[in-house]
């Protein structure tokens, strides 16, 4: 069992799920290709941020705008949500009760929404210090990059709510299983993008 070939990224359903396990291979590979193209999009937005980070045009600089405590809490929230999504994937793979699966998904949703709440507070406090997108090239690039990730997280949250509704109505069928598995990839991927954001934007900006 332990030497079973991994069919696709993310937690594999395994032979116990029969044809659903076989059907997931092509679906998950296709979603993986999308994620890699999304990664390149993020990579280039990062490049434009690094290019413009010194173009403050006399406006506020990173030191004056970033709040390390808030970013630290956001990082922990996203990391915890990655772990709770992992627990949801385990509940799916090992066919635990539907309540347990939905429970872990809801915990993940709460963590994701709390993350967005902290991030919005960050933006509002930046606006209060004249850190608006039109102020300088640096701020334009910042508000291109960080809210792009935030929008992805918001999209993931909406997707999660839809999946929970789908499971509540139709049960854990093939569609629901593949939906949860693809959202798991998306969610873990967004956490990886956040590592780059807190390192390149916040920690390097405050260093």
């Amino acid at each position: 069992m332990s030497h079973e070939v991994i069919k696709h990224p993310g937690l594999n359903l395994g032979a116990a799920h029969g044809p659903q396990h076989d059907a997931s291979e092509a679906l998950m590979f296709g979603f993986w290709i999308f994620l890699m193209s999304d990664a390149i999009l993020f990579g280039l937005v990062f490049a434009s941020y690094v290019t413009l980070v010194n173009a403050t045009a006399g406006g506020p600089e990173p030191h004056a705008l970033y709040d390390i405590k808030s970013v630290f809490i956001e990082t922990l929230l996203l990391l915890a949500s990655s772990f709770t999504f992992g627990m949801a994937s385990l509940a799916l793979k090992y066919q635990h009760s539907t309540a347990r699966l939905i429970g872990w998904l809801m915990v993940t949703l709460v963590l994701g929404v709390t993350f967005l709440d902290f991030e919005l507070h960050d933006f509002v406090s930046m606006f209060a210090k004249d850190g608006v997108p039109s102020r300088s090239g640096f701020l334009s690039a910042f508000f291109d990059l960080v809210p792009l990730h935030g929008l992805h997280v918001a999209g993931g949250c909406i997707w999660l709510i839809c999946l929970v509704g789908q499971i509540a109505k139709y049960g854990v069928d093939t569609q629901a299983k593949h939906g949860v598995m693809r959202l798991a990839l998306f969610w873990h991927f967004l956490d990886i993008v956040w590592i780059a954001i807190y390192s390149v934007v916040y920690l390097a900006g405050l260093a």
């Binding site: 069992m1 332990s2 030497h3 070939v5 991994i6 069919k7 696709h8 990224p9 993310g10 937690l11 594999n12 395994g14 116990a16 291979e25 590979f29 993986w32 290709i33 890699m36 193209s37 990664a39 390149i40 990579g43 280039l44 990062f46 490049a47 434009s48 690094v50 290019t51 980070v53 010194n54 173009a55 390390i68 630290f72 990082t75 922990l76 990391l79 990655s82 772990f83 992992g86 627990m87 385990l90 793979k93 090992y94 990839l185 873990h188 991927f189 956490d191 990886i192 590592i195 780059a196 390192s199 390149v200 920690l203 390097a204 405050l206 260093a207």
Partner: protein, 118 residues
């Protein structure tokens, strides 16, 4: 009787696999947590400065990304399809385009005598 025995064995091996999968997430979470705490602590208490601090933050971030890919996305060497190759190729494209952009734009900024990138 034999069927019963086989079922028990199957349940046991599944339980074992579940424990293994569970600890994979616990390991991933613990390693990622450590690699989050260290750079935040270093920046917060100003233990390092300048270029060496930037290199330190970047190196830890790269290792943490590898941990996430390994333990949360389960990317390994035994993939059936080209998942890992696709990831490495995308990384190569990103490095060429990202590093190229930063290099050219920093050089341009210097020649235009604007403040250059670090």
């Amino acid at each position: 009787m034999i069927d019963q025995f086989r079922d028990d064995e199957e349940t046991a091996s599944r339980k074992l696999e579940e424990r293994k999968d569970f600890y994979s997430y616990v390991w991933g979470f613990s390693l990622a947590l450590a690699m989050t705490l260290v750079p935040f602590a270093v920046v917060h208490w100003g233990a390092m400065r300048g270029l060496s601090l930037l290199i330190f933050i970047g190196a830890i971030a790269l290792v943490q990304m590898a941990v996430h890919f390994r333990f949360f996305l389960h990317i390994g060497w035994r993939q059936k399809r080209e998942d890992l190759l696709l990831l490495l190729f995308s990384t190569l494209l990103m490095v060429i385009m990202g590093a190229g952009t930063i290099w050219i734009m920093a050089s341009l900024a210097m020649r235009m005598s604007l403040p250059a990138s670090p």
